[in-house]
């Protein structure tokens, strides 16, 4: 009886400790996207990507407010991006949530190629994706780099015929983020 209680309290100590280091977060990751169309090149960037990774079950959640993108070729283009294409008032955030496929030893520093499998929701439309990323683990933090493509039709983002030559059907996206353990 006493032994069981002792073991129990002893185990709890471990539980509390791993609670501190299991979740890594960041609220300032960057997302760059490019639309490379025959008649126009559009680039925009945001540094408001938020992300959290749970190292115990390899689950992750990233989200970004669409109105945080800056750049574009004019302020009007940015207004149209939010009002007409992404409808940011209706769908303020884009989200990617899921699990990392590979088993990673998060306590071992190194560079690991991983596949993040989950649901990517943009413009309110969910698509299952497996996104290849690079995880760089150091003693203090975890960095994520990833480059992938988003086909606009996947997320019901419509391009009117009149601007078909100015907006690419596929957008190149690059993510950069450094996550630190949540306290």
């Amino acid at each position: 009886m006493k032994l069981i209680l002792n073991i129990y309290f002893f185990l709890n100590c471990f539980v509390v400790q791993s609670q501190v280091s299991a979740i890594y977060t960041s609220f300032s990751g960057t997302v760059d996207f490019t639309s490379d169309a025959p008649l126009e090149l559009i680039k925009a960037k945001s540094d408001k990507l938020s992300g959290a990774i749970n190292t115990k079950d390899k689950s992750f959640l990233f989200n970004i407010p669409m109105k945080s993108f800056q750049g574009f070729n004019s302020a009007l283009q940015r207004t149209h991006f939010n009002e007409n294409y992404l409808e940011s008032d209706k769908y303020p955030k884009s989200v990617f949530e899921g699990k990392i496929i590979e088993d990673i030893d998060f306590d071992k520093p190194g560079t690991y190629p991983v596949r993040a499998k989950g649901n990517l929701t943009i413009h309110g439309v969910k698509q299952q994706r497996i996104i290849k990323s690079t995880l760089i683990i150091t003693k203090e933090s975890m960095k994520i780099k990833s480059t992938f493509t988003v086909p606009l039709t996947d997320h019901k983002i419509q391009i009117p015929t009149i601007v078909k030559q100015k907006i690419s059907e596929e957008i190149y996206v690059t993510i950069n983020m450094e996550l630190t353990p949540k306290k």
Partner: protein
């Protein structure tokens, strides 16, 4: 006793286990930075013009808005003039340039040698987050010079060519589809037509837009000038229209009783009346150019 302590052990472990697996969503949504951010409201209107009036939308820094406006003849002239399209009662072209994100200067010319220059200042932006401000407030000021020769040759006539308009634009994007704007206006004309006409006019403008689709909106605009400031020859201007946005252009088509295109013309000098069915078709086309 042993069994009870075993059950207790398991129950307590489950409880601890549950609180351990924290919800990632809750973690991300509780970012303390969120409430410290200013979230400005964008795109209260689709363009810098409502119908005759300016809106709180201004070109961004180093952007220019070019606007061409036309007013036609009376619809009630019927099929012969194709409902007024034959007659071009007024034309204006104007350029508004963003010196900074909060200051715009403009120049324009309307029919019969009317030249106008203006500036607009963004004073307050509608926003949420750090501060909750439900309105955007801009200040618009214009000078107009009438370069036409006076009917009777007059010495030292220059000063009488000028009129001044000062306006506050108070706008609110009430929902994603619906925006309203109030335009309290003060107009001073150095020269008026008769002794009964007032040189100083105060008027209140009301305007709004309702989005029907992503690119199509219904607009309306009305100015109320107290009847003691206008002689019975003049009527308050009422306009109703449609905004069609296509990429870099906004087409605005409307019906109105006002032929004038600057505040000093359409507010106190509208001689047509809706009651008499004296309405005409008009359009504005604006295009944004970027000089970045």
């Amino acid at each position: 006793m042993r069994q009870i302590s075993c059950i207790l052990f398991i129950v307590l472990f489950i409880c601890f286990g549950k609180s351990y697996s924290q919800n990632l969503e809750d973690i991300l949504n509780n970012n303390p930075q969120d409430s410290l951010e200013k979230k400005f409201i964008d795109a209260t209107f689709k363009s810098t013009r409502l119908i005759n009036s300016h809106t709180v939308e201004m070109p961004a820094k180093k952007e220019m808005v070019f606007c061409i406006s036309h007013r036609f003849g009376l619809l009630k002239d019927g099929f012969k003039t194709f409902y007024g399209l034959d007659e071009s009662s007024n034309i204006r072209f104007g350029f508004d340039y963003g010196i900074s994100d909060w200051l715009t200067i403009g120049i324009g010319r309307s029919r019969f040698e009317l030249y106008d220059g203006s500036l607009q200042l963004k004073l307050v932006r509608q926003q949420k987050g750090l501060h909750n401000i439900p309105v955007s407030i801009n200040f618009y000021s214009a000078v107009e010079a009438n370069l036409a020769d006076p009917l009777v040759p007059t010495e030292n006539f220059t000063i009488y060519r000028f009129s001044y308009t000062n306006q506050f634009l108070l706008a609110s994007k009430i929902t994603n589809k619906f925006s309203l704007q109030l335009m309290p206006t003060y107009i001073h004309r150095n020269l008026v037509k008769t002794g009964n006409d007032k040189n100083n006019i105060v008027s209140m403008g009301f305007g709004g837009r309702y989005k029907l689709t992503k690119r199509l909106a219904v607009t309306a605009e009305y100015y109320y000038t107290p009847s003691n400031m206008l002689t019975t020859e003049y009527y308050n201007p009422l306009s109703i229209g449609l905004d069609i946005e296509t990429g870099g252009h906004v087409f605005q088509i409307f019906i109105t009783n006002a032929e004038g295109m600057t505040e000093k013309s359409f507010i106190p000098q509208t001689t047509y009346s809706w009651k008499e069915h004296e309405i005409l078709l008009g359009f504005n086309i604006s295009r944004v150019f970027s000089f970045k």
